[in-house]
């Protein structure tokens, strides 16, 4: 079976995110760009499915020229090929436009299972995978902390506030995974070398049959008026623990009448 995995290049989440003051778009320059850590779990989950069932993984991304780096990383981990939708007209696309592009790429890839992170670590919108599923007419098994695929059936353990639900569907399907599902492998040196020669298909919105006027900033269903730092909480007292910190905390709790 062919399994698609969505990957996204994001500014290193351990750094501080920043918006361009003019365009209000995420600044992608400056900070180091990395594979979204949540997507690394997705790649690992997809690889384990094909290792157990046979088949191959296709990594898919939408993004600028440099986004090809995360496709190479996914291939270094073990994906057989990649699709890169890169088109200047996609800049500023909202979640719906992104979902339309990714759904079209899945159709073109011929995959019958899509694996994605639950949400991106930069935007946190978290609606793209389920929207892709709806556009394809497929079920979406979301928030998976365990995933099993066996003879055409997908079964997950879906994280819930109270524990987990066991959820099942037949293929084709979309699955979103949480960080709890696995520990992503590191690319081996051999994998990194092999990734350089694996096929990477570059596509435009025209290739996907999507009208360009329906994507990008101008087509977004909302416009950003302002982006400003949230009202800051002011940092209070900062002390070094010299053995007396416990007493200071207890005094503070007493001041607050918690004890």
């Amino acid at each position: 079976m062919k399994v698609a995995v969505f990957v996204k290049q994001i500014p290193d989440p351990t750094g501080v995110g920043r918006l361009d003051p003019e365009t209000h778009l995420l600044v992608r320059g400056g900070a180091e760009l990395v594979l979204d850590p949540g997507d690394a779990n997705g790649v690992e989950a997809a690889l384990r499915v094909v290792e157990a069932n046979g088949g191959e993984v296709v990594a898919i991304t939408m993004g600028g020229e440099r986004a090809a780096e995360v496709l190479r990383k996914a291939m270094a981990m073990g994906a057989a090929s990649a699709i890169h939708v890169a088109d200047d007209r996609l800049r500023g696309s909202d979640a719906l436009a992104t979902a339309r592009v990714l759904a079209a790429a899945v159709t073109r890839s011929g995959c019958e299972l899509v694996v994605a992170g639950t949400e991106s670590t930069d935007g946190y919108t978290g609606t793209v995978p389920a929207a892709v599923a709806e556009l394809l007419g497929w079920p979406a098994l979301t928030f998976a902390k365990a995933l099993e695929v066996d003879s055409g059936t997908v079964r997950i353990h879906r994280q819930t506030p109270a524990g987990h639900d066991v959820v099942e569907s037949s293929l084709p399907a979309v699955v979103t995974v949480t960080g709890a599902i696995n520990e992503p492998r590191y690319p081996s040196l051999r994998g990194i070398m092999a990734a350089k020669s694996r096929p990477l298909e570059l596509l435009s919105v025209d290739d996907l049959g999507i009208p360009p006027e329906e994507v990008g900033l101008a087509a977004a269903g909302q416009e950003v008026i302002s982006a400003a730092p949230a009202p800051e909480r002011t940092a209070g007292e900062l002390i070094e623990d010299d053995g007396s910190a416990a007493r200071r905390i207890a005094d503070y709790l007493a001041e607050l009448k918690v004890i």
Binding site: A99, L238, A250
Partner: protein
């Protein structure tokens, strides 16, 4: 402005607190509030929805709406949105709310805004405030579409009752052509003790700085002394130290206790968004540059594994178990 449709959620026979927050807020910005409840237990919550301002209720009682993930409900809710043409649709920012809003967005080609913390009317559009980068940046967005779909974060609004009567209801049957999709076979509940995270006056949370799962026991001890609940960062939930039920943050719980005590948590954006509304924040972390100190009222640069046991002793000396 106009009709506002709110997607309501049921938990154990009651509307979820977030549902009542949405209905209450919708009343302040809309001329009329309608709710859509896709759950076989819908009837039990109609009086409360009415009392908070819902004049009309569209009710899906079919078990399929609960037993199958998103797909059948989205099919029916999309038809309803298309028929009513509400000026705005509010969804709870929960797992189910997200899946439903995403599907309605795709079916009707309507924009969806996630992580909203405020919505106000602005002429014939709406201004939506969303929090990004762990709520360190607030973005103000103006909608420019009919029936925009907005996912609201918990505790953004206050629930207030008007005491109005139960809403007029209309049944939403499951059409034969609606797809079913992924089925919930079983729900596994992990039991927990003490007050719930969301209700507790004191939350004691742990992160990677606790070094291993077994060390969470000291947090439980401290939480017991303070009559509070234990929370955790996503890093340690993902590492399998504690169940997801304890996770505080973007994909976990949002808490606003009187006192939040962060132990060995550096303050990833993911985490901050779930706790920055706490009235008072105490943080203990080895790294003096940890982001958590930027919003703590009392910060201690030190090893949580030393400070927390010392605090337990100190509280015991002051007469707390």
């Amino acid at each position: 402005m106009g009709l506002i449709l709110v997607a309501a959620e049921v938990a154990e026979g009651s509307p979820t607190p977030l549902t009542l927050e949405l209905v209450s807020h919708a009343r302040t910005i809309g001329d009329e509030v309608a709710v859509v409840v896709m759950d076989p237990g819908a009837d039990a919550i109609l009086p409360a929805l009415g009392a908070h301002g819902a004049a009309r209720a569209y009710v899906g009682r079919e078990p399929a709406y609960r037993d199958y993930l998103g797909q059948p409900a989205a099919h029916v809710v999309s038809s309803l949105v298309d028929r009513l043409q509400p000026s705005l649709v509010l969804f709870p920012g929960t797992q189910e709310g997200r899946d439903l809003a995403a599907r309605v967005s795709a079916r009707l080609r309507l924009p969806v805004l996630a992580n909203a913390v405020d919505v106000t009317a602005d002429g014939d559009a709406f201004l939506v405030r969303t929090a990004i980068f762990g709520a360190t940046v607030e973005v103000l967005t103006r909608t420019r579409s009919r029936s925009p779909l907005v996912l609201i974060r918990p505790k953004s609004f206050t629930a207030t009752a008007t005491g109005a009567p139960p809403p007029a209801t209309e049944e939403l049957p499951l059409p034969a052509e609606a797809p079913l999709g992924a089925r919930r076979l079983e729900s596994v509940v992990v039991p927990s003790a003490g007050p719930g995270l969301e209700e507790a006056r004191v939350v004691v949370s742990g992160g990677r700085g606790l070094q291993e799962a077994a060390n969470f026991e000291v947090l439980e001890h401290l939480a017991r002394q303070l009559g509070g609940a234990v929370g955790a960062s996503r890093a340690v939930v993902d590492a399998g130290w504690v169940p997801y039920a304890l996770q505080v943050g973007q994909t976990g719980r949002t808490v606003k206790p009187d006192v939040y005590i962060a132990c060995g948590i550096s303050g990833a954006m993911q985490h901050l968004v779930g706790m920055k509304g706490s009235s008072h924040i105490v943080a203990i972390n080895k790294d003096p540059d940890a982001p958590i100190f930027k919003l703590s009222d009392l910060g201690v640069v030190g090893d949580a594994l030393k400070v927390v046991p010392a605090l337990i002793e100190e509280l015991r000396a002051r007469g707390l178990g």
